[in-house]
């Protein structure tokens, strides 16, 4: 067994209507301490988790979307978002939060964490994992 495994967190559900998005993020944050090779996949309604401008005051529920912007601090820097899922939902990358990380191998240059990929690329990413956790 390799020392470092590839973990993929698959997010296919919208935020707030159900708790899966929030509790997925809680696993990601805890999992970061284990120094595995972590990627996050956002497809189907999971892409809605990353939208800008979420304001949960009216529903009285905590807005957890700012936490995505902190993922870089936890060295979680690979957020794959499926283009087809965005398109079906009338979204573009401009509707998503800007999420960045500082690349320690490149003089701490600030780089985007979100990478929009095609459905075929998403399938390849999924097929390249050791452990797939679905939320």
């Amino acid at each position: 067994m390799p020392d470092v495994k590839k973990f993929l967190y698959v997010n296919r559900k919208a935020p707030y209507g159900t708790i899966y998005a929030l509790e997925s993020l809680e696993v990601v944050l805890i999992g970061a301490a284990f120094e595995q090779d972590v990627s996050l996949a956002f497809l189907d309604d999971g892409v809605f988790q990353l939208t800008k401008g979420q304001n949960t005051e009216g529903i009285g529920v905590k807005n957890f979307s700012p936490t995505f912007r902190a993922l870089g601090d936890y060295e979680v820097t690979k957020l794959f978002v499926e283009r087809e899922s965005l398109e079906e939902r009338g979204l573009t990358e401009a509707d998503l939060q800007e999420i960045t990380y500082e690349d320690e191998d490149d003089d701490w240059a600030e780089k985007p964490s979100i990478r929009v990929v095609s459905r075929a690329e998403m399938a390849e990413i999924m097929a390249d994992q050791d452990v797939v956790l679905s939320f």
């Binding site: 919208a14 809605f48 979420q54 949960t56 939902r89």
Partner: protein, 102 residues
């Protein structure tokens, strides 16, 4: 005699909105709540289906749920009206029955 239908599921995830639209009648109202608010978005794979019903049926979106998800009212299809919880209550009172498409 008319019905207030509530839809609380994303139309991209389940068939609830489609089934609701297939069963609501002229003069009925459809209120999108919780994850159902995504059904009101313009430019989506289901927008045409929703727009086609918007003539004979009044369609509403619960703004607190749309706001939570970052969906401004101007992203909604034309003719879809935003309401708050008080507006939800008014709709439930104004129609003869409520049917939840869970």
């Amino acid at each position: 005699m008319s019905t207030l239908h509530t839809v609380n599921k994303s139309p991209f995830a389940t068939n609830s909105l489609t089934s609701c639209l297939n069963h609501c009648r002229e003069g009925d109202a459809v209120l999108m709540i919780e994850d159902g608010v995504y059904g009101g978005l313009s430019g989506t794979a289901v927008a045409e289906q929703v727009a086609a019903k918007a003539g004979s049926v009044s369609i509403y979106v619960l703004r607190p749920d749309a706001d939570a998800r970052g969906l401004a009212q101007e992203r909604m299809l034309e003719g879809i009206e935003g309401v708050d919880y008080a507006g939800f209550v008014d709709l439930a009172a104004a129609h003869d029955r409520t049917q939840a498409w869970l």
